[in-house]
Symmetry: C2
Subunit: 448 residues, 2 copies
């Protein structure tokens, strides 16, 4: 039945329709979803526009047959490590451990590629990083007086998960060059004065989504000190590190000597989004309600058992096959991909430079940052970059971007665009930036 | 690092350990998890005991190579339906639609196998039925005065999900022959008198977990009438229908003329648990906050986007391959499996009859029901069937079962055991029931 037919049938039913009038659970993540829906609609309405909106990975290096190869490699590995054919069958077909089946391979890879040295027991394998965020927030933010601090602009996955759980947020605005510990400390003290308890701080330290900023090493150390001094946890989300060029700064988790950091892991950029495979590293010691203690990871697994039971062993098998193929170094699977993203970012920056020579740039009041990696950059413009501007940009200039204001949970970013460079070819980037320059120049002139 | 070493390291850290003393989010699902943990511990401690505890499917009919065959079949299907190789690659590797990619195949199968006639748009594909429960509760139970009614004893997945969301439960106790609409109506009216709003009623109509009861056809019609009269929704969970012998009664959803039923679907018993694939059929019309209306399924998808983003296309591909292999009738893939479960249930009942002849049974005060299918039956015993009794049963008699009290969210079932017959061979069933009879007889005599 087509969507139109089904809507027709639906409209005819009124008895149960009345039932839910205004009675669904209101959700503070709705604004996020509404804006994303608007973006999807614009994309759908102007299919020939070049879009700098989607943050999805480039798919030119994916190869369908490799799914079979990776899964087979993991099954061979199970044979080599002494599993019987019945055990292998059950590993794929049956329910599996809630915390996951490939924690040893993930721990090995974290040590080799990220400098994170944790026992497999502190890892929970999740259905994408999104579930890791959800479980972590559910465990760590207990009451209405507890707040989650977020660096802002902020990835919508964390604000959405907080919204589902009715968790209060406090946004700490980034400065043009990124996050500042002073601003975080101020926000912390303000919250305390209000009688609220800041429990955790969420941040993407490397090539942040959406702003593209990277936290300097000194700030990483300052942040860890601040967390120790003010007794909060850091939620570190860093999906772009291993698909970015050059040597990366150390993860917060690798610098963490006091178990202050919960590291939220994603394979969506380094391996592939379709695996829906992420994880949380949660080696914190927590008290249980019987006077004992255990790992935070075990608490997350308990919650997971009531959300998704366990992560599909099929996805785990394919990811494990990829980890085995790279001897635990997914970074090495991504040399080509990283080079692709690096070239895309360079092409974008070069074209912006060409379209907006220094004097033009200064005259217009246009600025952008120069991220050292990742998928995103931020462009400041001399007008309000809202849905109306986006629609005009798509319709009249054939170019789509994301209003940065979408990523500010408590306002901000009204005159900034987010550009994502991950999904486009070099030719589309060049043509797209030309179109964007046309739009920006025209919009700035107020000729519309 | 071994578990012991890691615990040792963990114990040495006290700074962050203090942080979370009594401050994790308390969860009413903890009692459920605590009891399940106890069961796991007993199983671990007495590895030679025969266990009637696990509700997992029999795995003798699984075949590892079939995973590759099913996935290939779905990819071939995509080719046949006109997808390009790039589209197929992206279907596996990229993010996918939040509501799922195989809704048309599921809708086709629901019509053929379950008599449920719904458009694909009313289906949301989820990470197992557990996620479907979680999303449905999150959407439908908005506030602290709203309650979820459950038939009790009750599947722990739903009580656990309600616990995570801090949702109030009201248990409606089953009678020995199953659920009664009169009791449900009484409970509804009591809740209303207390100023609370009963929003939905959760039930497993066929071969219930844990009690094994099946709702008669007349009761199904009565329940639908009651839902219309008292304006609540029915959450129908029925994972055992298509692995049970003979003709099944119609699903509540297939009898539903007023969109009163949200059907919660699972492939864990009919296909395999490792797919972690379930779905919700939610064709209810709901008002949105902009004065429009849409399908409840779309609201569930919005919530899902903040829990797991989308269900792995790898799992969807394998399940789709199985649905295609059976031309949309998973029941036909399960004729052997259904026969296996039927024989297991018969063997269990026959052996109980043999161990407890009528006069012995009456003298002891032992009774059991005779489920027409499914995995479970309930045995009433003349003593408290608690953790202490379970431990003694495992240690001294080498047989494990589940205390039925685990499944009563508000007390009950103290003198009943749940037996699961799904996972054992006929020989183990015979030996296990002999041991159980020994234990029951001894425990009833009070000789311990």
């Amino acid at each position: 039945m087509s969507r139109t037919e089904s809507a027709g049938t639906a409209a005819a039913v009124t008895a149960s329709a009345d039932l839910f009038q205004d009675e669904l659970h209101a959700s503070v993540c709705d604004p996020v979803l509404d804006t994303m829906n608007f973006l999807n609609e614009v994309t759908h309405r102007y299919p020939h526009a070049i879009s700098f909106a989607p943050g999805r990975p480039y798919d030119g290096f994916f190869d369908t047959e490799q799914i079979f190869v990776h899964m087979r490699r993991y099954l061979d590995h199970l044979v080599e490590t002494g599993c019987s054919s019945g055990e292998i069958r059950d590993a794929l077909f049956q329910y599996g451990p809630t915390s996951g089946r490939i924690r040893d391979l993930i721990a090995d890879s974290l040590l080799k590629d990220e400098g994170i040295d944790v026992p497999p027991e502190s890892i929970v394998v999740t259905v994408g990083c999104q579930e890791a965020m959800f479980l972590t927030l559910r465990a760590l933010i207990p009451g209405p007086d507890d707040v989650l601090l977020v660096s802002s602009p902020c990835y919508v996955g964390i604000t959405g998960a907080a919204g589902l759980l009715d968790i209060g947020l406090t946004a700490v605005a980034e400065r043009p060059d990124g996050f500042s510990c002073d601003d975080l400390e101020t926000a912390l003290l303000v919250e305390r004065d209000r009688g609220r308890r800041p429990r955790a701080f969420y941040v993407v330290p490397d090539h942040s989504n959406p702003s593209g900023t990277t936290m300097p090493l000194r700030t990483r150390h300052e942040l860890l000190d601040l967390a120790a001094r003010h007794d909060f946890l850091i939620l570190e989300d860093s999906p772009y590190r291993l698909v970015s060029p050059g040597r990366q700064l150390p993860t917060l988790k690798s610098l963490d000597r006091e178990r202050r950091v919960v590291h939220l892991g994603s394979y969506s950029k380094t391996l592939f989004p379709g695996a829906r495979l992420g994880f949380a590293v949660a080696d914190q010691i927590v008290a249980d309600r019987r006077g004992g203690s255990g790992l935070l990871a075990d608490e997350l697994a308990k919650i997971k058992s009531m959300v998704t039971v366990n992560t599909s062993p099929l996805s785990q098998a394919v990811v494990a096959g990829m980890l085995l193929a790279s001897d635990g170094r997914p970074s090495q699977l991504n040399t080509e991909t990283s080079a692709h993203y690096e070239q895309a970012m360079h092409a974008t920056l070069r074209r912006l430079d060409a379209c907006f020579p220094d004097d033009v740039r200064a005259g217009l009041g246009v600025r952008w940052n120069t991220p050292s990696g990742g998928f995103f950059l931020a462009v400041d413009v001399p007008f309000t970059a809202d849905n109306a501007a986006l629609t005009r940009s798509a319709e009249e200039f054939g170019v789509i971007w994301t209003p940065m204001s979408y990523f500010y949970p408590q306002g901000g970013g009204e005159r900034t665009l987010r550009l994502s460079v991950s999904y486009l070819t070099q030719a589309d980037i060049a043509e797209g930036i030309d179109r964007l320059a046309g739009f920006i120049t025209d919009q700035a002139a107020g000729s519309h």
